[in-house]
Symmetry: none
Subunit: 216 residues, 4 copies
DNA sequence: TATGAATGAGAATTCATTCAT
DNA sequence: TATGAATGAATTCTCATTCAT
């Protein structure tokens, strides 16, 4: 039946790719929910609705699967960052946009945060082993440096700001709030995940970052 | 001396307590290094130099052991925070001191960061189940609020600063840098853990936080 | 023959089924010999000549394995009971045949007795949880009732005999002798398991039961 | 305080004896509820409200504790049987009384049934090792033989009845009903443990046994 | 007599992974 | 490409028992 149609090879390829993607998403969710140590290959197969053996067929083992998931996650955020086109905006707007983007991305992709945590728990060896690690090296720091320089030149920004430090700060302001919201909520008894709380946090972040960079 | 004295019963007590503390420290290290899912009860016993069975004797199971470790870690940082005596200092100094303390504590207690990560991965259920959770609720936010208020009144600080937001920001600036240093280093190709890098980060944090709070 | 035919998939199926049956028999023997509490999963695997993991693969855990064994045992005796075709015999012969069958079945299936003991020690929760419990409800009581009624009508049997009471009595007469033969032997110093003793017991049982049911 | 009173040695002895009895009762309940394999020394200590070490002090190990429990149980039923004074009654009354006693004893001492089951599961090796085993050998069979003989002589009983067979039958009629009531109830869907059901069973038992022994 | 601390051997169960088709 | 069957090495947890006082 299907053997007689010429589209088979392509279809098979597409099926193969689709299977890999299904596995990748299932794995991402499982790793995000349980961490690398707590993730179960059985559950990944179940989530994917595919045979467990297939995971090994495509990804060799749990470690390499995690690595693939991690690469995927990085590639995704990098692509979105590229879409920002910060250099098309005036420096202050660009910076504000970066802060907003970072906040919103973390908010909408909580799995990214836990994946990062897992990666760091394992001392980022999955990135070190990744041949694509360099591709993950975002041009964002360079772009941010250019934004800061332009701002300094047009007099709106102070000078002497290290773009890497600034980037880490922007990320940290969003990350800690979202990644640790469970312990924070438990201890301070305040729900940090309401829409109102979210918008207050974003305002706060903008004030802190722009207050630091803007001249007077 | 103690061998001939009636302190023997006490020593027995002390042994039990010492064993529990030894287990607690070993568990803290193991959980910090491998996360809750990756930690091994065998290794904890080995680290403690005690029989594995004893862990169950004192802590029932892995979950409750983790909970005890977490409570312990929180109690420790809360005690240190209390020592800061921020209200004895003038507001600007107090704030700077809090930033420095936070940075140094995280730097010297990397296990605290990974324990927090694990706790959050499990949605802080170990804190939720802890009857001491409330005691962990540090008076720090209230103290910080008082510092901010004093600064506002004496004209050095701006008004309208939410102490919880500020605390989360201070923590976040330190936390992200240290907790994620492996992925950051891997991706940006810069060693963030040299003494020089550390002192630069602390300077940056102070500038950001004080720049935000100080008037003009 | 089968190796060259398209029955291969079937063989695979048969392997799974065969493995499950092998496990079931090994488990039955182990449970019969040591009770539920004393049975060892390791030994079951060894008896079956299969990997221990496979037991969990097919039966989830020890409890469900026991349940499966119990269902199996009941199904088996019920099938044999059905073969008796008591309604094809005249009442007295039918009753005698039931007594003989019960005695012989218990004698030849000592594992059935200990399985029942284990099941009762656990308050029959394995049957309560069994969805097939009702299927195990043999039509024997109804059949026996019919036999008793026919005997009453043709004047050989007395009336007013509760078939359930009678069934329990028949079973009890055989069960206690065989199930408790070790303590009985130890205490009364008489070997109850010689062929002669067996045939004497069966005679006694027939006399008791038929003496009770037969008119004068 | 207590060291100065002369009653101390006695008191201590009495305490020792009391402790042993407490342990014995706790053990009996635990073994009855869970069987030998399922019983837990920890739970026995807990039930007794005494330190676990003390059990070993008095009973050496689990096996010997079980043996002691078993001996105790046998001694108890034998004492009660002796109280029956069957030889003071006329044969028919004596036999009826034995049936009633057996039923009631099993009904009021369900632990005896499960202890017997455990003992038999272990092939009565605890009785074989017991030096008191012979003492457990009840004179009941001899007594029952005498009752039967008297009945035969006075023309109320048939001859040729083996007292051991009869005793096993009496016990079996009660035992199976009570010991297996959980599986019987589950399968036949009839509650066998109501007072009404109990009295019906006892009537049935008397009819069966006396119907068998009484002439015509 | 009595007890809390400690232990080694084992027991159920889990998990990543491979086999065979 | 896809899958159900099978496995060995852990892993958590349990249990009877002993130590030390």
């Amino acid at each position: 039946m299907s053997a007689s149609t010429p589209t088979l090879p392509d279809e098979r390829l597409r099926d193969a790719e689709r299977s890999q993607n299904t596995i990748l998403q299932a794995a991402r969710d499982e790793f995000a929910e349980h961490g690398l140590g707590g993730a179960r290959m059985d559950r990944i197969a179940e989530r994917a609705g595919l045979n467990k053996r297939l995971i090994y067929y495509y990804f060799q083992d749990k470690e390499q699967l995690f690595q693939a998931v991690l690469e995927h996650a990085y590639r995704h955020i990098r692509e979105e960052e590229r879409e920002l086109k910060l250099l098309d905006l005036k420096p202050e707007t660009a910076l504000r946009r970066l802060v907003e983007f970072t906040w919103n991305y973390y908010l909408e992709h909580p799995e990214f945060l836990t994946l990062l945590n897992s990666a760091n728990l394992h001392r980022a060896r999955h990135l070190a082993q990744s041949q694509r690690a360099r591709q993950l090296n975002s041009p964002l720091i360079a772009t941010l440096g250019e934004v800061l320089e332009r701002g300094r030149r047009d007099g709106t920004f102070r000078g002497g700001v290290d773009p890497l430090q600034l980037y880490v700060s922007i990320a940290g302001l969003a990350y800690f709030y979202l990644s640790n919201n469970h312990t924070l909520s438990a201890i301070f008894g305040r729900d940090l995940m309401t829409p109102k709380a979210h918008s207050e946090r974003l305002s706060h972040m903008c004030e802190v970052i722009l207050g630091y960079v803007l001249k007077d």
